[in-house]
């Protein structure tokens, strides 16, 4: 069979299997449980997340580690949730951050209201694997 005839078959197979990769959900309390990656980032990792209430407002600090020898761009925003799991304060703007080669960049955010009790950090890097994290 000529190799070019296999191309449509390969495309069809990849389309059928594209949504089939499922990973187990992250453990509650782990960093991954609070981080939503829009596709797995190739070189950036959220290595540390800590949250504390200051002046009635939840304050979050995240550490992003660049494991690559090139600078990497990160886009992120936070989702703030109340005790019932409803979002508070509407959607945040996406924020760009440049992370230098092998740098550990810290980003901080403050909840918009004292009602906030939980959060999710949504991250996206243009350099990603295209796979589910």
């Amino acid at each position: 069979m000529p190799p070019f005839k296999l191309i449509p078959l390969a495309i069809a197979l990849s389309l059928l299997t594209a949504c089939a990769s499922h990973k187990p959900p992250p453990r509650p309390g782990s960093v991954n449980a609070k981080v939503e990656q829009l596709s797995e980032m190739s070189y950036l990792q959220v290595t540390d997340l800590r949250a504390v209430k200051r002046n009635h407002l939840l304050t979050v600090q995240a550490e992003i580690n660049n494991t690559d020898s090139d600078n990497q761009q990160l886009y992120y925003r936070f989702k703030w949730l109340d005790a019932s799991g409803f979002t508070v304060g509407g959607e945040e703007a996406w924020k760009p951050v440049l992370v230098y080669a092998y740098q550990k960049q810290t980003v901080t955010a403050v909840a918009p209201s004292p009602l906030v009790t939980d959060f999710r950090m949504v991250v996206q890097s243009p350099d990603n694997t295209g796979q589910l994290p």
Binding site: P8, L9, I11, A12, L15, L16, R54, N55, H56, L57, T59, Y75, R77, G89, E91, E92, A93, W94, K95, P96, A109, V110, P112, S113, P114
Partner: protein, 202 residues
């Protein structure tokens, strides 16, 4: 034979791609579409929506952590002018409006009528108290307006540099909170933004 096989494969792929598509509730010429208002906009390196949004978010969250605001229960704040000292037109009122909205939503601060809305406030009070149209017992009284505890004011500046095809723009947005009675500055913060563009094709 080969041709009919290819047609079947192409049809199969097209069916796979369009199999889950449903009709969207839209009426469009095809040239206009809605986008994400929160997206990172880098069309040019002039002041843009992402700059406005990040400045507002950064300043609002910093201000809400100010010990001066936290010390009083729901203090009354007014917004003064933010001076535009950049080389381009920037609607600074739009920035302060966004900051104010975010702070008000926290429920920790109240805002007094600022100078730009004062005429409307006076007109409304005058309408209710003069002319005999309103029931005196139900109209809002003159002389009951509350004075603000704090004033917010600031500046936005920029430094623009060009070197060949490269243009670098640096913005600095500074905001401060002043205690109106004592005249002391109780909080100040800055947000810096750097944007660089390159016209070169290589």
């Amino acid at each position: 034979m080969y041709k009919s096989n290819n047609v079947i494969k192409a049809t199969a792929i097209a069916l796979l791609l369009s199999g889950c598509a449903t009709q969207s509730p839209t009426l469009s010429s095809g040239n206009v579409e809605y986008g994400d208002s929160k997206t990172v906009e880098t069309l040019t390196n002039e002041f843009g929506s992402t700059d406005l949004q990040t400045i507002a978010e950064s300043m609002a969250s910093s201000l809400l952590q100010s010990p001066a605001l936290f010390a009083k229960k729901r203090p009354l704040v007014t917004v003064a002018e933010v001076k535009n000292r950049t080389s381009e037109y920037i609607d600074t009122k739009s920035i302060t409006d966004s900051i104010r909205s975010k702070i008000v939503k926290s429920g920790m601060v109240r805002f007094a009528v600022d100078t730009s809305a004062m005429q409307t406030q006076v007109d409304e009070l005058t309408r209710q108290n003069q002319g005999g149209l309103y029931d005196k017992s139900k109209s809002k009284k003159m002389g009951k307006m509350a004075g603000a505890d704090f004033r917010i004011e600031g500046t936005i500046t920029s430094i623009v540099k060009r070197a060949g095809d490269v243009k670098d723009v640096y913005y600095k947005f500074s905001l401060q909170l002043v205690d109106i009675e004592s005249g002391t500055m109780e909080w100040a913060d800055e947000k810096e933004i750097r944007k660089t563009s390159n016209k070169s094709m290589f």
